[in-house]
């Protein structure tokens, strides 16, 4: 109890003394968090868009023969072996004909002389609408083509691929800005601890002389790092939220509402980001203290 009190008051004193030099670190951390969360928000919204795509994402596997119940089961088995899918539908020759006829509306009479089984039977596969499945869709279609009795596999190839490469690009950007966040944060934490150690040099020497334990000396630096992380990430997310509101109020009308309903992080993601930043900063300060104070 007294240990905690002593350490807290020690931390408080140190902050009261050095907060001016810490401001730069705080601003840097805030900016890094802002940049990272911005891209991450765009990324997670893009994923939402992906999951809202509906029929565009189905794979159609054309077969040369109408499969009987046994064969259907075998197909189903093989498909599910590759990836979990949301739904599999078997479309028989007649069903295909009916659908086609339905699509023709007024000009149905062109079908008059054509036999009702001229369309090949097919399997319609609706993959799960998440990015994992999306990224595998190409491989999926290649796999389906190797199944016996398959004539051709079709999907909204171009669209999916474009979307997929966009998501890939976003992933790289998120990864880079995340790395940037980690680098700048640990660097700035190291920097601000160096500054604090420097400005409290005499005091730290005295603490050693009067027999302060390692943890009594270390914990305040650790707490300072964690506090920097907490403040920096909170400020960064708050700034992102303001930016988000501003974009929403100014550009909402122009965006296609259904497709791009831009939404902010959930409360739990916000907490997660803050907690991770705190851990990152505290960890960074832990490493720096060991290096700088060698205690």
């Amino acid at each position: 109890m007294n240990f905690l009190l002593a350490v807290f008051s020690q931390t408080w004193r140190s902050i009261a003394e050095t907060w001016r030099t810490q401001l730069l670190s705080l601003i840097t951390i805030t900016l890094s968090v802002l940049i990272f969360t911005f891209f991450y928000l765009v990324y997670s919204n893009a994923l939402q868009v992906g999951s809202r795509l509906d029929n565009d994402l189905r794979l159609i596997v054309y077969l040369d023969e109408q499969p009987d119940a046994n064969l259907q089961q075998e197909y189903q088995h093989k498909i599910e072996k590759f990836d979990q899918v949301e739904r599999i539908e078997f479309v028989g020759k007649l069903e295909a004909y009916d659908r086609f006829k339905g699509q023709l509306d007024d000009s149905q009479d062109v079908l008059k002389d054509i036999p009702k089984d001229f369309l090949p039977p097919s399997i319609e596969i609706y993959p799960r609408r998440n990015l994992e499945s999306l990224s595998r869709i190409k491989g999926f279609s290649e796999y389906l083509e190797t199944m016996p009795g398959v004539l051709k596999v079709q999907y909204g190839r171009e669209w999916v691929e474009r979307f997929y490469s966009f998501i890939q690009l976003l992933r790289v950007v998120v990864f880079l800005s995340g790395s940037l966040l980690i680098l700048t944060t640990t660097f700035m934490i190291g920097h601000s601890i160096r500054l604090t150690v420097f400005s409290r040099k005499k005091e730290l020497e005295l603490l050693r002389l009067v027999g302060a334990s390692n943890s009594y000396i270390r914990v305040p630096f650790f707490l300072e790092g964690a506090l920097l992380g907490a403040l920096g990430s909170t400020a960064g997310i708050a700034a992102l939220y303001l930016l988000f509101r501003w974009i929403k109020t100014n550009f909402a009308g122009q965006a296609a509402q259904g497709m791009f309903s831009f939404s902010f992080f959930s409360t739990s993601s916000v907490c997660m980001i803050i907690v991770l930043s705190i851990l990152l900063c505290a960890g960074g300060s832990f490493v720096s203290i060991r290096k700088i104070l060698s205690v």
Binding site: N2, F3, L5, L206, L207, V210, G211, A212, S213, N214
Partner: protein
Amino acid sequence: MSGEEKKLTMIDLARVSKTFPPDVHALADVSLRIRRGEMIFLTGQSGAGKTTLLRMLCGIDCPDKGYIEIAGYDLSRISGGEMQKLRRRIGVAYQDFKLLPDKTVAQNIAYSMEVSYRSRPFIRSQTEKLLTELHLLDKQDALAGKLSRGEQQRVSIARAVANEPELILADEPTGNLDAETALLVTQLFRSYNEQGTTLLIATHDQAIYDFPGSKVIKIENGRLAIQKPPTLVKKAEGKE
């Protein structure tokens, strides 16, 4: 040394030597044993080696040769954590005070107690008590750097004794004080000694050890020279 005697011993030095470059024999072959509860004065000319001896006792310096034991800990083998604990049990008033000039008097004194996780009320009452005894209560919130040398000296003494240590090492504690104020310090030390604290006080100031029954060791050029009473210093063979 028997186990019983070991328990009674606070400071044990055996043939301790320290040489500074190029060729200053600050201490040469010093053997000395101080029992718990004693108050010893360490005298000697300027440059005799008093500060050097005290610095080794609180672990700031290491001897080149010889063996030092404090409260049963061999200083050459003590672990970092044990050294920290030991330092919390020793109060040191340094010759150069080692105060933090931009902290207040009360804050400076609090350091020695905070590292032992003393409670706030204890720190406050102890600070006030000591400052009252040393006639400095009105300076409690003054910055240490703004005080006169004599005032700073008393603050450093207050810091040394505040945590109620088992051993007090004081280097020239009255060097900047007038006779009357020096008496306050002597009284403070004596009151601690009466409660059982061991004290080792390096001083030139004959007035503070010139009383019947005082125990005095004199260093000359790094060697123990005169002692009063003569039983203090171990025989030349040193180790038993």
